[in-house]
Symmetry: C2
Subunit: 343 residues, 2 copies
DNA sequence: TTGTAAGCGTTATCAC
DNA sequence: GTGATAACGCTTACAA
């Protein structure tokens, strides 16, 4: 790395001073004379001195680094969360080292081990799909390294969490469909081993129940990955029912969009014949026709909240860390796919 | 940080051995007996020992860390590039510390300074919009820290580069429009102070010239940021011409999609009346109606190529680093927005 | 095969 | 105000 880097030792030699004086001067220590301080800084600048933070980290037992584990960086939701994390971290003088588990448990475990050797001061993680339990995270507790999960969290791990209320969001989405007059509301559900998708299904059911609409299992289609392809499959299933649903709540935007396109090809009008609500507020939902009513998943805010919480815990280390759970408010973004021009 | 972490000193005390023996055993040094090695490793595991890589980094003057500077993490192109970088880095035992400049020159400069103190072994950067020259990067040359730019690169900086051939891609896109019979081809151009957008305009012009189609400045609309809104504005401009263009090449997908929607509202058929080609292959281009013909920007591959090149340079440090430029092949993805059923 | 000791660049605790 | 010096945890000549 260094093509002979300048160190405080070099500065000390040049100025005929001790390295401690140099170190203090560079840190504006009160006990050093103003002239000396100024001279030292001037020389440092001239010679292009930069502190070696590796050495400083070792000595002070602080790295100002937080480790982030996400399933994949290139997923819209995660890239926005990471952006929020970096934003907060940067402004607080922390650095973000990033790892993707690619939804592989083995890799997630390996990453937690790397993070220990790297002496990160805190960890933010979103669990991978394969991860059912999280014993590989408890070592952070033992080492007193704060840990914050976001979105896909683990119930049985003593850590802070930042989530949205998927139940409440789904409830709100379904209630919205009811409020515009839908009586027969279908649901495209995600993988039911994942808490967030389970909660979305429950919220849907609870809203129906509240308004005395019977829950009809024929109106619920389960998918494994909420893909564009599965959305089309579910839509065709609904088309084959005796009477078409007049409303549909989908656990994500891709299935909603895909289903809408299938309906349109079948000459069914959105939202007149069937009104549709998605989930996530992916950029595409603003661009398709009709524009899609959806729940904003607050990815950026989630990242920011996770980073703020983590940094607070890092810096409050003396106090007993009580793990904390933050639930972010979601917004229902009403667009044309549910706009029947009533109201 | 550490709530009393185990060190090799602790292991040494427990085993009545010197720390050097412990260190060697943990590294499978040939001169240590098999029994000792096994015993040391066993104890290390029992006590939950993890090496402190900060200390090791200081001693060996290596951090195995690469710094990445991007304008924004949450832009599709960059999140994919970062994903590629992380993928290659992880497999080679390097770690990725990430910073977003948010297109601010001041912040970009500050980040380069941080990266020096952090003793990163290499840097990958995509320049921000405000950056016109890159004196803040030359210090990496002086420190012998390899530097690779991707996508938005600087001409006057001695560094490696990974880019796509924007000129050739634009040429190919325009040629495709000509090949399906377009005679009057418009272009929505990006900010002309940015090389890549300039190259796309040049490629467009060159293709026209090759096929003896006159360049008509009225068919070229310049935008500052290629936003969705600007796409609509340009489309309306084209609609107001005496005769509508029969083909359009846009410097990104958003303007293409926006323009298509304006055309559709004006009862103009895509691709019969006007065929459209975008640029980037954003996910949305597969979902809109009609699906959008576009140039794939190879973001993930760009990230991978940048990381591979950088790591090669880090590890070849003895040799003289000759900066290297990699140009990735782009693909024209033909979809319905140019599918006139001719072939 | 193992131990001793120096040193990576910095910070911090003593002294003076 | 400033200077020695030890220490952070690890690696690695050099000894033994």
């Amino acid at each position: 790395m260094a093509g002979s880097r300048i160190t405080i030792k070099d500065l000390a030699a040049r100025m005929n001073m001790s390295i401690s004086t140099i170190s203090r001067a560079l840190h504006d220590h009160s006990s050093i004379g103003e002239k000396t301080t100024a001279e030292v800084k001037k020389l440092a600048k001239e010679l292009g001195y930069f502190p070696n933070s590796v050495a400083s980290n070792l000595r002070r037992n602080k790295t100002h680094t937080i480790g982030v584990i996400v399933p994949r960086i290139d997923i819209h939701f995660h890239s926005h969360a990471i952006s929020g994390i970096e934003e907060v971290a940067y402004k607080s003088g922390y650095y973000v080292t990033i790892f993707q588990s690619r939804d592989l448990l083995e890799r997630e475990i390996a990453i937690t081990e790397i993070l220990q050797t790297k002496m990160v001061e805190g960890v933010i993680a979103c669990l991978g799909l394969e991860t059912k339990e999280c014993t590989h995270f408890i070592k952070f507790n033992e080492l007193n390294v704060p840990l914050v999960f976001y979105d896909r969290v683990s119930k049985d791990c003593n850590a802070s969490k930042v989530i949205i209320d998927d139940f409440e969001a789904a409830f709100k989405a379904t209630e919205h469909l009811i409020s515009i007059g839908c009586k027969k509301i279908s649901h495209i559900a995600g993988c039911q081993t994942t808490d967030i998708f389970k909660a979305r299904l429950e919220g849907y059911k609870a809203a129906l129940t509240k308004y005395n609409i019977p829950i009809d299992e024929k109106l619920i289609e389960y998918t494994s990955d909420l893909s564009y392809e599965e959305g089309a499959r579910c839509a065709k299933k609904f088309l084959s029912l005796e009477t078409l649903p007049d409303g549909m709540f989908c656990a994500n935007d891709y299935t909603a969009i895909s289903a809408i396109q299938v309906f349109k090809k079948a000459n069914i009008h959105i939202p007149q014949d069937i009104a549709v609500v998605g989930f996530s507020n992916y950029p595409i939902s603003r661009f398709i026709e009709p524009t899609l009513t959806t729940i904003d998943d607050r990815a950026f805010e989630m990242g920011k909240a996770a980073a703020k919480l983590l940094i607070r815990q890092i810096e409050d280390k003396d106090h007993i860390i009580s793990s904390e759970t933050i639930v972010l408010k979601t917004d229902l973004i009403v667009r044309d796919s549910t706009n029947r021009g009533i109201i």
